[in-house]
Symmetry: C2
């Protein structure tokens, strides 16, 4: 991509309406644009990042055998009346009347709709377990939407649902998602801690939130630092291995303020391991047994009778993750953001010093650009005549992990190359390509 | 995928509520499930097909230099009041009041929102042309939704918008999309004819519909058969080559009944080339100059003054294409559907004859299955104990282009292999793999 052809409307300064750093950075680098209160358009830069996150989320769902489908955004109120949540949900549910005066709504979550799909499709326990997910826009009519896409109204979410015949099998499904979430966040270079959580309006009695640390987080968290050492790399998708993983985490105290108890914290956690900080919720999983299947009569044939299926639900905020990653990784003092290469909008930026009277540097840059493209590297070349130092400032904010600077002093095959937050080196194009490809692995 | 683990709820018979063949087939093979009038969930089989179509549509947009972004589904009424379409749009627009009593709506199209994005982002003509697109759910509150996903309320659409400084440049953009649509439909193995069309509520004076032939189509079409011979394979993305392509098509009469004139048809088209038939609209492109940019004050600096940009819009119904392809390709008499391999839900089906007392055939099948997976072929194995003939019937409907039948007579390395609508052959697994891979190219 040539910067002059791109659609990346950069702002010179931080926008005054933004308070937290992800909101500031996303507006400033033209990742998003607000279209109305709590509703955003994703411009090309932000869209690319979100799509790459979506792909990783999808990939980790597929790996545990979940199947993707897609439910609509607009739902009938009927099924919500069956489950009893139509009244409960309150004003956060966007209620709609269509031209025939039918009561509809914009789905804030999909337990009802997936249960309806399941009950008309699956008749026998032999088809279980079923793990189904979709990645779809949701709407929650927040009273005071704020913080950009972190607390907005229309948001993009992966929600999965599991169906099993026994509690024991259902917990196996729950644990599969538990593992898949750890793997997902790890691929996004986030340290997410699973924390026992309240179940709220979803219901049930087993639930974990996945929280990443960030100073600007909305949740206070209390944990034992040793929890960061729990490793799931060797966990296998079988019952025993997953139970062991859960136990490894449960050894350590880790709760949000909802469940915090000072006495227990101080009793269980030696002083040197105590961590009180703030965090952001990036995922939430629930096991709620037959709460919905009983209300909505979703049963299968099992041992000669109808048995209500046991269900869980599993959410990851895909659009929210974009903001959460910025909150975790953006160095606001130095104005440097660095995206993990797996989700960076481009892998490498070429930043030439351009003199209006002399286009030698631009020509050098185009050669490098063509070469990197041929090597399968996603690259953007800043061919505009903006001055060099403001180009650098701009690319530090955009957060592409690698930069090649091209100026009058650039020699035949020795380029000023920099990984963000590291030192500049002068090396050949071949070495640059090798370094970038190595990082992508 | 093992069929026993899949979520493909097949119906034994055609559903009584469906009239046209795509609707029947999609319900019968568990591709979709209606959730309320004109609103559908896409189950895994249908979802896979739609996603593959989406990928081809996206790829052809990228190839002409269009950039992807994503606008939200819920829009503010403000911008529609600016353009003057808020009242015009009538009851097909789903109007919503949020909890603050603000007038919102579910976007039926995005001319207003993209114009708003453009006017706050682009200031100079030097950034033009801009071709922007998104693939997003839309809602049109049809009075009588019917024919499944062909005339539904919530639908998935690619809509693109072009911004240029002069009429001449804008027509160049228009022609780029004209070409990209021909290429898109060709990759979907559809013969789509571009036909001069009325512009309707979008406005403007230049417009083409892309129509595919299908007996069940909703539009009557009148054309010169020689139009099918026009070839865009060698067309290049430059002004002259694209103008030539447009001229090649314009040589031949091709209109829908809206624009049909019997006298002209019979005067211009020699009798042997006259074709009167029915068709389905799969794409629609519009050029409307400064209709929206003037109303919404979207201008750029050009030659010392503000100039309103010239715009066009370009739609492809992604969800609708799934149905349109079925209408064009499903042989309802023989109950055989065959998906083009580029968008087939799986590339090959393995169909074993399974005897409950003897699992030799299932074991043979699993070996073949593992082998094909290793070769990167998307394969589904029917490991259920359904009887063999009803398995065949089922897979003829599902439409996976290749089948391997495994029975008691199957020898060491000679398999009964069939491409749908072709003869069965007995060949080795290596040959099978070669045939499938060749087809994928």
């Amino acid at each position: 991509m040539l910067f002059s052809k791109s659609f990346i409307p950069i702002l010179k300064n931080n926008p005054s309406e933004a308070v937290i750093k992800s909101h500031k950075l996303m507006l400033r680098t033209g990742m998003i644009k607000q279209s109305s209160a709590g509703i955003y358009s994703w411009l090309p830069l932000g869209f690319k990042i979100m799509k790459k996150i979506e792909k990783i989320v999808r990939d980790e769902q597929d790996k545990i055998g979940a199947q993707e489908l897609l439910m609509p955004t607009i739902q009938s109120s009927e099924i919500w009346k069956e489950s009893g949540r139509y009244e409960d949900y309150g004003e956060e549910m966007l209620r709609i009347k269509d031209r025939q005066n039918r009561e509809m709504l914009y789905g804030p979550t999909n337990e009802e709709l997936i249960t309806d799909i399941f009950r008309t499709s699956v008749k026998s326990y032999k088809s279980l377990p079923q793990l189904l997910y979709h990645i779809q826009w949701k709407f929650r009519d927040e009273l005071r939407p704020r913080f950009g896409i972190m607390r907005c109204r229309e948001f993009y979410m992966k929600d999965a649902y599991s169906f099993d015949i026994t509690d024991d099998e259902a917990k196996f499904s729950y644990n599969k998602f538990f593992l898949s979430y750890l793997r997902t966040f790890k691929r996004l270079e986030l340290s997410a801690i699973p924390m026992a959580a309240d179940t709220g309006p979803i219901g049930g009695n087993l639930s974990h939130e996945f929280i990443i640390l960030a100073d600007t987080g909305e949740s206070k968290i209390y944990t034992d630092k040793r929890i960061f050492e729990v490793n799931s790399d060797n966990t296998k998708v079988n019952k025993e291995s997953l139970i062991d993983l859960r136990k490894d985490f449960e050894k350590y105290y880790a709760v949000t303020d909802e469940k915090y108890d000072k006495k227990i914290f101080e009793k269980e956690v030696p002083e040197e391991f105590r961590l009180k900080t703030k965090g952001i919720e990036v995922g939430h999983i629930f096991y709620f047994g037959d709460k919905y299947s009983q209300a909505m009569k979703a049963s299968v044939d099992y041992q000669g009778k109808k048995e209500f299926v046991r269900m869980g639900s599993y959410g990851v905020g895909v659009s929210r993750l974009v903001g959460a990653i910025i909150e975790a990784k953006y160095n606001e003092n130095d104005e440097i953001m660095k995206w993990p290469i797996s989700i960076a909008p481009y892998e490498c930026a070429i930043i030439p010093f351009i003199d209006k009277k002399n286009n030698t540097n631009l020509e050098k840059s185009k050669k490098v650009y063509d070469h990197l493209l041929k090597e399968g590297i996603e690259v953007i070349l800043d061919d505009t005549d903006e001055n060099f130092s403001s180009k650098i400032k701009k690319f530090n904010l955009i957060g592409i992990p690698f930069q090649i600077m091209i100026g009058n002093k650039t020699e035949e095959n020795s380029f000023e190359f920099k990984e963000l937050n590291e030192n500049t080196q002068n090396i050949s194009l071949e070495k640059i390509i090798k370094i970038i490809k190595n990082k992508k692995k």
